[in-house]
Symmetry: C2
Subunit: 233 residues, 2 copies
């Protein structure tokens, strides 16, 4: 059975779980603590990071690489899978636009927002001190929150000029954006009232069945805001 | 005519130029100074970075996105293009391994090596002070050099266990690795004598015709070491 090695509050893992869910796949979930640098995980992925997707003896590491793999093995298959399963559009230039946005969220949004907020508020709390744990850095949190306001406006701009962020149909672009936002939203850090279009778009993504399992995950001793798991906000 | 917006000493631009060269494509080259944040470039790529590939009115931004676009529009076309033009293997799991390595070099090697050395020694030299230019930071240079030794060993390990870095055939993995190494090699910072397998592999990649134009680029007032443009070292 396919297995996803992941962490419940790693945004890249959430992106892959959402993608698998949209494709109707339910692999076994194996929760990892990548900061422990276990040999077992390093053997699956030399960079030691999650997510890693295991299927038929092959270890597919990294959010972007897994997305391409799933598109090739699931999304575009010709055996009668419904078209809605495809999370990349058909035309090369349209696919490029979705991939641009996936990278935008998985790299740029991560570097400027999620890495600051999730590292400081979640990972530093659960990692042992010797492996990087400790008190959150207020300056890093402020930087993440400031950057988030610009990103939220960009999401609102995309959502108000297109049907979905990457074009006419739901795509990897929406799932990448929503994966990162969901981690930050658990912390109560998304200023939803600043952008109505972004909020409406997120409510649409959040109400999809694939989102349910993700919104059910909880961190011990840390309660998300009341709207967090409510599909209607 | 297709156009590549790029910078001669940006490793991601070099990766795309090598890929285009291997595919027999010779777009117009438009040299950019991304640190000036010109509206013209931001209109092509909202993140303001190079490379950006322009074709048929579509702007395809970012090394990874361009590689996928070229694979879809050139590499895998069925109109008689030689198989050797394909820079990703055929099987999904093999493609995933090449993509893993492309990300390894374009993200991890970049963050740990190229960004330090090329930013400190090249970009800080050519950027105006107000936009980030200035004296190189010795600690950053030392960090880049230390990290490079580990990466060179990994390249040597791959090169001694496979025909090319990503598998049996030349692939995007080789071009990504060689693009980053070529920038660092211009600075004389690659300790080639530490890994014979890595050196032999690089000599093979460097001798390909697609590499010629890249090795001909020069920075005013900065001469590369004698072996830099010599295909036989």
């Amino acid at each position: 059975m396919p297995t996803l090695h992941q962490h419940a509050f790693c945004p890249h893992s959430r992106f892959v779980r959402l993608s698998l869910g949209e494709m109707g796949l339910a692999p076994e979930i194996c929760e990892e603590r990548p900061w422990e640098r276990e040999e077992r995980l390093l053997a699956l992925n030399p960079s030691g990071t999650v997510p890693v997707y295991l299927e038929d003896g092959a270890a597919i590491p990294g959010a972007g690489v897994i997305a391409e793999y799933l598109d090739e093995t699931q999304g575009s298959r010709k055996d009668g899978a419904p078209e809605g399963r495809r999370l990349l559009p058909a035309a090369p230039a349209d696919r490029a636009e979705v991939r641009r946005l996936v990278e935008w969220f998985n790299v740029k949004f991560f570097d400027e927002v999620t890495a600051y907020l999730v590292t400081e508020k979640i990972f530093k709390r659960i990692m042992p001190a010797a492996l990087g744990g400790g008190s959150p850095d207020g300056a890093a949190i402020r930087a993440g929150r400031t950057n988030l306001r610009y990103h939220l406006r960009y999401i609102g701009y995309l959502a108000s000029t297109r049907n979905w962020l990457g074009g006419d149909a739901l795509s990897y672009a929406d799932l990448a954006a929503a994966a990162h936002l969901s981690c930050v939203d658990y912390l109560g850090d998304v200023p939803w009232d600043e952008d109505e279009a972004a909020k409406d778009w997120y409510a649409r993504v959040k109400s999809r069945p694939a989102f349910r399992a993700i919104l059910a995950d909880r961190l011990p001793g840390m309660t998300p805001p009341a709207h967090y798991a409510d599909p209607d906000f």
